[in-house]
């Protein structure tokens, strides 16, 4: 198997049990975050302290897997040192890569820890090869994670025009907006994905049974209202139903999560080097199941090549993990184009 035919499976872990699940079920890499706003899944009860990460790295390395740390939010001047300390911690603990968005933080990492591998986070909003090559020239990034907005031909074009490895999302929650360029949560709640590492935070959610139905608000904003028997989803702002010109509908996107499993041969063919599974907030059982299915599919795809079709059992296993939501190929396929 030539190197260009490799595709890594990058799985999420919000804690040690999920990390072990991912490693045990065949993840090539696991990505994690520290317990603060230095990463984009800054949720209560989630993430790693130094002891946990030390153990996680030991566990992963022993199994031949790698650990990436997401430091992918934007530091402000007043708290800059918290991010640089996080870079130092990650380097000192021996992580295999850091995933970053802030240019100066990348410069710091390169200067201070020249052997530390840098990946450009999806939060860096790099959707074209010129932007990716900018980060490569200045900070020596070795991989870029593409925002979930590009179609397959566009991904092919990016891969062909950069020396940087390309990682794309394969499964999980779907940002409708370009990551790093969305302030909807900050606008409605004051909690910013870019700076605080959280979107539509749980602390701002209010459920209320009313005569009109079950209403859910984020801060003061009514995100949706559900009739009895309707599945009430989490009130992420871009997933709500709103009124536009007298019509009430999902104004941004129908609720659906991403499943690009059937595109694996095309992603491989395009030269994509890694597929990322979203969901550091998910349970160890979820991580185990998604990792297992994707591992099997990647191995099958590597041996079957273009004739690969995902097994029906794989698709139904993934469908069951999505809490009744439907699946979409998202921007890769662009049904709305």
């Amino acid at each position: 198997m030539s190197e260009s035919k490799q595709i890594e499976l990058v799985c999420p872990a919000g804690g040690l049990p999920a990390l072990r699940s991912a490693v045990d079920h065949g993840a090539d890499c696991v990505y994690v975050g520290f317990r603060d706003e230095t990463n984009a899944r800054n949720f209560a009860g989630l993430n790693f302290d130094d002891a946990g990460l030390t153990e996680g790295i030991r566990y992963a390395h022993r199994a031949g897997a790698r650990v990436f740390v997401a430091l992918n939010t934007y530091p402000q001047s007043a708290n800059w040192a918290r991010w640089t300390r996080a870079v130092d911690r990650a380097a000192d603990l021996g992580v295999d890569a850091v995933i970053m968005a802030d240019p100066a933080l990348m410069a710091y990492a390169r200067r201070t820890h020249p052997r530390l591998r840098i990946h450009l986070s999806v939060q860096g909003s790099a959707t074209n090869h010129e932007a990716i090559n900018f980060y490569h020239e200045h900070f020596g990034i070795q991989r870029a994670v593409l925002p979930r907005v590009l179609a397959l031909p566009q991904i092919r074009h990016v891969v062909a025009n950069t020396p940087v490895q390309i990682e794309v999302f394969g499964f999980g929650g779907l940002c409708v907006m370009v990551e790093g360029r969305c302030a909807l949560s900050a606008y409605a709640t004051g909690v910013s994905p870019n700076c605080d590492g959280a979107c539509s935070p749980a602390k701002a959610v209010r459920w209320e049974q009313t005569p009109r139905g079950m209403e859910v608000r984020l801060n003061t904003v009514l995100v949706d209202r559900f009739d009895t028997g309707e599945r009430a989803g989490y009130p992420t702002l871009c997933k709500g139903r709103y009124d536009v010109d007298g019509h009430t509908y999902y104004a941004f996107e129908d609720p659906a999560s991403l499943n690009a499993l059937e595109l694996l041969p095309e992603l491989l063919q395009a030269g994509v080097r890694a597929v990322k599974i979203e969901g550091r907030q998910r349970s160890p059982a979820y991580v185990a199941e998604v990792t297992r299915v994707w591992r099997k599919a990647i191995d099958a795809c590597l041996s079957d090549g273009a004739s690969f079709r995902p097994a029906a059992a794989s698709m139904s296993a993934l469908a069951q993990l999505s809490e009744g939501q439907t699946h979409t190929l998202g921007a890769y396929d662009r049904p709305w184009k």
């Binding site: 240019p103 100066a104 909003s125 074209n128 900018f134 909807l184 004051g190 709103y242 536009v244 010109d245």
Partner: protein, 299 residues
């Protein structure tokens, strides 16, 4: 407060050609120092094509104002990148880089403006962009006064700071077109319906509160940022350029109100009220005060 420059930000909406040209003809006469032109939202829009924007820039330059070409925020395809390259290599006008790809095409070669979507949240990143040739930066919409003060204290003397002080807040960009979606149209066959909404397509919550505005692939706040009452604080922070973002109506009157306050001929309270009356929605200033962006904090 006479040290402020007043800038007209790029037109986010899609207006018919004649209206756009008429708007800029008036803008040329308005008490502005800087005018940003160009299509920043969608490459399908064609009432003015790249060459038309350049010709407009040429016309406007004779007004003596500084003319800046703004680049598209979301660059997806090779034609998008090519268009940006032409802009970066225009050879005459300063360019506002709204993507790091645009920065790459201008770095160490020509001076440029670092746009708000570059997410410069700290002085270290600002300084880095300065070394590459940025001569001005536009503060991210969600940045608070407190965070900005820290950056201002450390920024290089030759780096100008520009802050959005009036207009709907640009909140999000997507590959999807929400205006086309509203009309159940494919993006590639959108019939350019966004041209029907000169102030964007209003989105309300199910209990009727005006919340957001859809403008093609862009989502804006429904509430209108109004920082006129903060002008003394902005002066103290050393903000150099105040950006007024074009709305369908009253934009140049808002420019005049800001100018009058800067010139000391209009009291802050009166100006705040007058600007509020011209705004196409309720006003807000929450981001500036470190709160949710939609909040209106009383002065």
């Amino acid at each position: 407060m006479s040290s402020f420059q007043l800038a007209l930000g790029p037109l986010a909406y899609y207006w018919p050609r004649a209206r756009t040209l008429a708007f800029y003809e008036s803008a040329a006469q308005a008490p502005l120092d800087v005018i940003y032109v160009g299509e920043t939202i969608c490459s399908r829009r064609h009432e003015l094509r790249a060459n038309d924007w350049l010709a407009l820039a040429d016309d406007l330059a004779s007004s003596g104002k500084q003319i800046v070409l703004s680049s598209q925020v979301l660059l997806e395809s090779e034609p998008d990148v090519k268009a940006m390259r032409r802009l970066a290599e225009n050879g005459r006008f300063l360019v506002e880089a709204n993507d790091m790809g645009a920065v790459r095409l201008m770095q160490h070669r020509v001076p440029f403006v670092a746009g708000a979507s570059l997410n410069l949240f700290n002085e270290q990143s600002l300084s880095l962009l300065g070394q590459l040739g940025a001569v001005r930066w536009v503060v991210p919409a969600e940045m608070s006064a407190e965070d900005l003060a820290a950056v201002q204290a450390a920024r290089a003397a030759n780096m100008q700071t520009e802050l959005l002080v009036y207009g709907r807040l640009p909140l999000a960009y997507s590959a999807r077109c929400f205006t086309a979606r509203h009309f159940k149209l494919q993006k590639d066959a959108c019939e350019f319906r966004c041209i029907e909404f000169d102030d964007g397509l209003r989105l309300r919550t199910r209990d009727g509160d005006a919340f957001l505005v859809l403008n093609g692939i862009q989502t804006l706040s429904d509430r209108v940022l109004n920082l006129v009452a903060e002008l003394p604080a902005l002066s103290e922070l050393g903000i150099d350029v105040l950006r007024i973002s074009p709305q369908a109506n009253g934009t140049l009157r808002v420019v005049q109100l800001f100018r009058d306050v800067i010139d000391g001929t209009l009291a802050l309270g009166q100006a705040a009220e007058a600007v509020g009356e011209l705004a196409p929605g309720e006003t807000c200033n929450g981001f500036w005060h470190g709160q949710s962006g939609m909040a209106q904090v009383l002065a």
